[in-house]
Symmetry: C2
């Protein structure tokens, strides 16, 4: 199985509210492949999709019931500490909740978290040990045995 | 805010068990940037991280409590129906649970789902309307107004 991940789909309570947040708020423009009740955003080479939560659960044949911590986080890496503050401020200004104000963290970086309308967590992080390439993707050392 | 997503971190109950599943099982090799209790996999230009669930919640300043549907899915796109079946079979052989056997789906593709050791859902999908580029990423139409 190739090391590959194509789409992250967030199950949302209100597609309109989420679209407003990500598109009108954060400024991400939906791909024209979006149709019906699925919205796609191209984020570099990965795709973020928004789809009604009930339908997503139904598609995967699982119960839609769920509560509390969803167990995962999404991270947006920046090239400076200042950019972390700017993005958290932007997110807050368009309705995000700040779960954690940015601070210097134990691993040597600077990061904070906001949540989207469904409570999904976005970390905004400056990591001085990770290089960001021109296209905005992280440059990580090649795989090797642990 | 640029259309960018760098890392998806899964909060896992047992790092060893998840590492065994993704690395020994699916064959993905951790980046040498992995250290302590965080493991990074380069999946194209996006990074999948595994980190203990309690610590992930602590890092985001949220309660670690959560149950039921985590609300999101990850998708792996293939170039054929046969590849969907092969990957589901591989995943099952290394301990995944098949949440949904592959079938023809209403949008014209063919897909199934497996869950990882923590129950996170992976869709394996063949989508005849989406082109996969050489590097394994989806080619989506450019953004335009909805």
């Amino acid at each position: 199985m190739k090391p590959q991940l194509n789409i992250i789909t967030l199950g949302v309570t209100s597609l309109q509210r989420s679209l407003q947040f990500y598109s009108d708020g954060l400024g991400w423009r939906p791909s024209s492949a979006s149709q019906g009740d699925i919205v796609f955003f191209k984020l570099g080479t990965v795709v973020l999709a928004l789809y009604p939560r009930e339908k997503l659960a139904e598609d995967a044949r699982v119960s839609p019931f769920g509560q509390g911590f969803s167990g995962f986080t999404l991270a947006y890496n920046t090239t400076s500490k200042e950019e972390v503050d700017e993005i958290l401020k932007l997110a807050e200004s368009v309705g995000a909740t700040i779960a954690k104000q940015a601070e210097n963290v134990f691993w040597g970086g600077y990061s904070g978290y906001f949540t989207d309308p469904d409570g999904y967590l976005w970390e905004v992080a400056w990591n001085p040990f990770f290089e960001l390439s021109e296209d905005g993707s992280l440059v990580l050392p090649s795989p090797e045995s642990l």
